[in-house]
Structure formats: C-alpha cells, structure tokens
Symmetry: C2
Subunit: 218 residues, 2 copies
Amino acid sequence: MPRPSLPEAPERARGQRDPEATQRALLAAATAEFAEKGLAGARVDEIARRAGVNKQLVYHHFGNKEALYRAALEQVYSGIRAEERALHLADLPPEAALERLVGFSFDYLLDHPEFVALLNDENRQGAPHLRDADGLQAMHSPLVDLLRETLRRGGEAGVFRADLDPVQVYISIAALSYFYFSNNRTLSAIFGRELGAARDVAARRRHVIDFTLRALRP
Amino acid sequence: MPRPSLPEAPERARGQRDPEATQRALLAAATAEFAEKGLAGARVDEIARRAGVNKQLVYHHFGNKEALYRAALEQVYSGIRAEERALHLADLPPEAALERLVGFSFDYLLDHPEFVALLNDENRQGAPHLRDADGLQAMHSPLVDLLRETLRRGGEAGVFRADLDPVQVYISIAALSYFYFSNNRTLSAIFGRELGAARDVAARRRHVIDFTLRALRP
DNA sequence: ATCAACCAACCAAATGGTTGGATAGCATCG
DNA sequence: CGATGCTATCCAACCATTTGGTTGGTTGAT
C-alpha cells in the first residue's frame, strides 16, 4: 500500500490528531530546510509546507523559529551520539579499533550531509545555540573516551606513540573527514574534479585511515 | 588629527567624490557583514552604514546584494592566493619546506577568520557563487604545485613516502587547520575548554605540523 | 579660456513583496 | 466540558531594490 504523502508529512486520517507525528514531521522538515538555507535563509512557511501542516503549529509546538532550529540541532547531535555509543572498540586490537573509529567518522558524515550543513551554519554564527543547549554536558562525545582508551592500549602494545593527546587526535580525525565533506563543492571547483563521486569518496576514505594510522605510529 | 570615521568609511572631504575608496569601503564592510551573518543574514542597509555611504551605491557599483557577495568572496580568495604565491619552498630541504607550508596554512586561517566564515557560508549553500566566478581557473592554489614538488623531492631524498597523492595531502593539510578554526566554538563547547586561547592555538599548531610530517614518513 | 552638455557618483525616499508571528475560532480527545 | 491540537486569516515590520532626483568633474566646441 503506497503512501502518497511527502516523506515528512504525518499520515493523518481526516480530522485525526497526532501531535507527536506532527512534531516529528516539523523537525524533519526543519532539519532539511535549515541544512539547505541556514537559520537566516530558512523560511517558516516552507518548513510548514514541507511538513504538510499549518504554519501556526511551529509556534504551537516549538515557540518560534529559533527554538525550532535549536531542536533540530539537538536532534542531529543526539543522532550521531547514539551511533557513537553503539561502537564497541574494546574487543578489537588497537590498530583495528582505530581504523574502525576513523571509518565510522567518515561514513557517518557521508551518510548525514544535513549534520555537516547544520553544524556549518551554527559555527559560522559562533555556535550561540549549542552553547545554551540543554544537553550540553551529555554532548561530550563518547568517541573521545573510546579514543583515549584505544590510544592507551596502542601505546602499551607499542603500535602507537605514547605521548598523544586524545583531544588533538580526536579533532584531527574529525577534521580529515569533515573538511572533505563540508568543503566538497569548493574543493571540487578548485581541483576541477568531482570529489563527490563514489570513486573519489572511496579514495578519500582510504587516505584518511592511512594518514591517521601513520601519524600515530611510534 | 584623529579621524572620527569608522575604519571602513572612505575619508571624503565634504561633497567630494572618490569612487574607488567608496568601493573599497563597501567591499570591506560587506566582507565583515557577510562573514558575520552569511549571505542570507547580511543586511544591505547595514553594509552601507558600516561603509559610511548611501545604500544605493551598493547597486550603483556592484549591481545587487549577491554580486557584492561574489565580489567579497573573490577578494578574500585572491588575498590568500597572493600570500601563497609569496611562499618560496624550493630553497628549503623537503621537511623544512613542508613544515613551512603547513605552518603557513595554519597561520593564515588564524589571522583571517573572515576567510573561514565566508567559505563556510558559501559551502553550505553548495558553492554556487564560486562556481561561476570569473577567475576560477586562476583560483587553483599554487600550494598544490608547491606541495607536489616538495613531496617529489622528499620522496627522492627518502624522507617522504613516494606514493603520495598531492591532492589528498593538500586536502588533509588544509583540513587539519581549517576544521580547528571553523568549528572552534562547537569544539570548545564540547570539550569545555577555550580552544581559541593563545595557548591552545599554539598547541594545535604544533600538533598539526607534527601529525602531518609523521603521516608522510616512509 | 569659457561654458554647456554629459555622465558618473551620490543621496533620500518610496515601493512592494516577503516573513515571522498573532488572533480568533473550530475540532477532537479525555 | 475543559484543554489541547489544529486551521484560516491577518498584519506589522522588515528588506532588497527602484525611483527620481542633485552634484561635481570632464570634455569638446566655440
């Protein structure tokens, strides 16, 4: 049985209510709109249209445009955190664990361009919405702890340097993948090469893993 | 004799004209405004106010808001390209040359936050303005050629791997510095540590150089 | 050398489409 | 029936762009 509605639109029998589905639809529409156009460029009318609901429901359920933006930000953040927590690296030998960690960082950004776009916009503004987000404490990525432990194990086993700062390494791992996606279009323009093509993406993935592992060797 | 005017405002004796100074002032004001608020968030009124000229001059000299944005983008790009061309690496041994190259990339972004901010905004939009910029051909960074040559020399001397792709290495070098600055606020929030402080910036600079040089070793 | 024509630089105010948000009322659920 | 989800309609503020000019420098014919 095919669903004719937009993917984001809540399915609602005539005259029925489903506030949770409405909020989900609004959040999904908002995430897409804010990712495409940023906070300033996004239009509340368009978000409501995409969600298939009346514009006033934005104000009813979220308060105002900026609060909706904050909700979208928090949601994409909690999305990546959830997947990060599902990574189990303790079972793997240090080098394999690190390869999985780096690969995960790369793959997640590849699969979630809206995360990159939203974070880009938020950072250009100076991250004012993330600063006073509720779950800021819980936002600290579990990856840093996983990384710290992996580096420690690798240091003991003699496959990694022993004097590594996990925070610096974490930032570098994130950087090598994030920059490739966030600046993909300008890089493609500069190099006259379509870096978004599957072939180039795969080559970049290999390079990032290789580059990182080599940098960590003793 | 102190000048009471804003730094961006053209000095103009009463009733005098100076179209070039006006355009410079508008470009400077536009760069700052677009960097702070993005294309969508920037206000033409505010740009004119910052430049100390009448709003209509934006239209007289540049055509419209988007053309002014493009001009600002092209200007910041030509700024970094100019400094890149001033780098002479051929005289240095490969490792020293690479250290200088990486250090330059880092320092330039540190000193030019408006470059990072503008590029962030342009990329989130999908880089439509850079795509049809006039000097696209001339935009190809001379750094890639410098890097290619440096890697070749290092490969022959046995201090670098011989199978390195200069484009991938260039992207990685740019990434390690760019991401730190572009995402500085969210990283600071996540780690609860002020990564913009001079101490942290210096530590990052050392890390980036070290990380890169180690990754390139045979 | 003078001056009238011309045009770029400049300005204040108007325009009109857009947009975030408000108001008022209807519908449905518990 | 009271509270909450929801819709239609409205509106004041905002904002990019246009209009309709004035002003000052330059040019070329006299």
